[in-house]
């Protein structure tokens, strides 16, 4: 795929045609990326979501048989239907799970922002020579497997865990708190895991900010707090929005944290998907759940992008 493109690049400067091909190549790269890593897998999932289950390898039918030629293809398409999507509307489990996932993701994102913003702010205001070290400290947890870090929280939060032992020792509580296997533990796990994804974009927005703007605001009669609300927050808004998206979107589909830290009452779409896929062996319905989840995630992203575009146009 890449080789002819490279050849075109080599012929760079050979006049109009060469330039045109170079441009086409540069534009093609992201589209090929999108096609190979997003659209193709999506259509495979979409195709499975229109199939029926079967006791076979793979466990759904029909499968595309190209050896039959055109009749095989038409036969294949005639067997696809939207039955599985209808099924999703018939059982309230699914929309409850979607709703509960969005709720958990929203609350967790707000908490991540509350904890992440002051950290990012502190980093951006720290003396220049400290910043690489602080940045390093934020990134450092990624050196340990995410799974192990979530497991560590199980040790901290369990009834006989470090947190309870500590609280009992200092005498704040007399009986251990049940935190593990509840939604509280899920929130703790999500906020902890996703904190760097909130801090880094906000930090990069704050770091670029011109400090003299704050001085100007203060010269014009703002108190420090007013200057923060009227200048710093609006200027860091792109960072906040990027951070919130980076946290919220993966959290909606999160599976590992709720299954390790959450209780059986923690209803999230990731778990429902798991059950469809593994317990029911119903790949078609599992795929339908995934397709709907994708639509739920894509809509706010598209709305957000439109909004951004309008804003940049308005600014120009």
């Amino acid at each position: 795929m890449g080789r002819p493109g490279l050849a075109v690049l080599d012929s760079n400067g050979r006049g109009f045609v060469g330039e045109l091909m170079r441009r086409a190549f540069l534009i093609a790269v992201p589209y090929v990326w999108l096609l190979a890593l997003f659209l193709v897998p999506f259509f495979i999932v979409l195709k499975i979501s229109l199939s029926d289950t079967a006791l076979a390898i793979p466990p759904y039918t029909p499968t595309l048989d190209l050896s039959q030629g055109w009749s095989g293809i038409t036969e294949f398409f005639s067997q696809l239907d939207f039955e599985n999507f209808v099924w999703l509307t018939e059982d309230d489990l699914y929309w409850k799970a979607y709703l509960s996932s969005v709720k958990i993701a929203l609350i967790a994102t707000i908490f991540t922002l509350i904890f992440g913003y002051p950290i990012a702010y502190g980093m951006a205001r720290a003396p220049e020579e400290w910043r690489p070290t602080l940045m390093m400290l934020i990134i450092l947890p990624f050196w340990t497997s995410f799974l192990i870090r979530v497991y560590a929280w199980m040790g901290i939060l369990s009834n006989e865990g470090y947190l309870n032992q500590f609280l009992l020792w200092i005498g704040v509580i007399s009986t251990p708190l049940t935190i593990l296997n509840t939604n509280t533990a899920v929130y703790i796990g999500i906020v902890y895991t996703y904190l760097p994804f909130m801090i880094l974009p906000i930090y990069s927005a704050l770091e670029r900010m011109d400090e003299s703007l704050i001085e100007a605001a203060e010269d014009l009669g703002c108190s420090r707090i007013q200057a923060f609300w009227l200048v710093t927050i609006p200027l860091s808004r792109p960072g906040i929005i990027a951070g919130c998206f980076l946290v919220m979107i993966p959290v909606i589909g999160e599976f590992v944290i709720p299954s390790l830290l959450g209780g059986s009452g923690t209803l999230m779409i990731g778990k429902v998907l798991w059950e469809e896929f593994f317990s029911n062996r119903d790949w078609p319905v599992a795929s339908a759940v995934a397709v709907v989840l994708l639509l739920i995630l894509v809509v706010p992203i598209v709305l957000f992008q439109r909004n951004q575009q309008k804003q940049t146009e308005a600014e120009q």
Partner: protein
Amino acid sequence: MTIKTLTLTAVIALGTSAAFAEEVRVYNWSDYIDEDLLKKFEEETGLTLVYDVFDSNEVLETKMLAGGSGYDVVVPTGTFLQRQIQAGAFQELDTSKLSNADNLWDVIQERTAGYDPNNAYSINYMWGTTGLGVNVGKVKEVLGDDVALNSMDLVLKPENMEKLAACGVHFLDAPAEILPMTLQYLGEDPDSHDKDVIAKTEEVLTSVRPYIQKFHSSEYINALANGDICVAVGWSGDILQARDRAVEAENGVEIEYHPFAEGSLMWFDQMAVPVDAPNPEGAHKFLDFILDANNMAAASNYVYYANGNKASQEFLEEDVIGDPAIYPDETTMQNLYITTPYPQKTQRSVTRLWTKIKSGT
């Protein structure tokens, strides 16, 4: 340049094919073997053993039905094995390559033939029962000294569970185990495939649901051993392992395993070779190694599960072969029941019921 690339490709190709021939990939349940046996197998055969673990039949089944799992030996439970054989996921065993096959125990073979006709596709690895793991001290503290530690009442009666909730109760996250158990409690056929009969379990399980801390199929071993929970509905050998871990930790936790007095589910974990196994030759070598009486006895002595290997019994330690929780006596045997796989439609309603019981929706 081209020649270099060609040679390199050839070397890589040779390298990978050689690596496949030398490797046997085994996918078994977690905490289910004495790891010294794995080293012994490598030493005896010169093959490299890749040993991965899982903790639910569902995960294994999905890998099998997706195909191309890359494993040479896998260990599904009987009911799952039966369905996967129907899906064409396994290859028939070549008995000429299993020199130790005579060691198998006819009593178990007769039962496993119900899942795998003529035992053509699998050999029994271990079998066990599903019952109660109790932290004796804590349970007696909560429910009094004369509580029956082997009764389903302990975990299916709300008044008991209400008190036990404070010290923690785990259930297996396996509807195919918990629903038959509840049916048995209700006096129904535990192997019922009738949706309406199965639905009767909802009321019982919902009434105790608020007091169950977690449904999980492997965490309870450590949770019991650490004293984090006081009761688990779990698999016999796992609970006995928890007992031993607590003894080793010297933390004062005393764990006991009891099959249900009302009758327990008996299950069989079978070793089988996937139809697309990269190294079926090596897979048979591994099966034959496991069939060896000494090796099988070592595995059972380590994990506290009974096995389907008659010849291994003389090498079993007294606290394994002599423990009725592992090798049940004749009367307990009579009390054990087995189940068969649910058809797809029933499976869907069973899973849905299970979700409803677990999450309340």
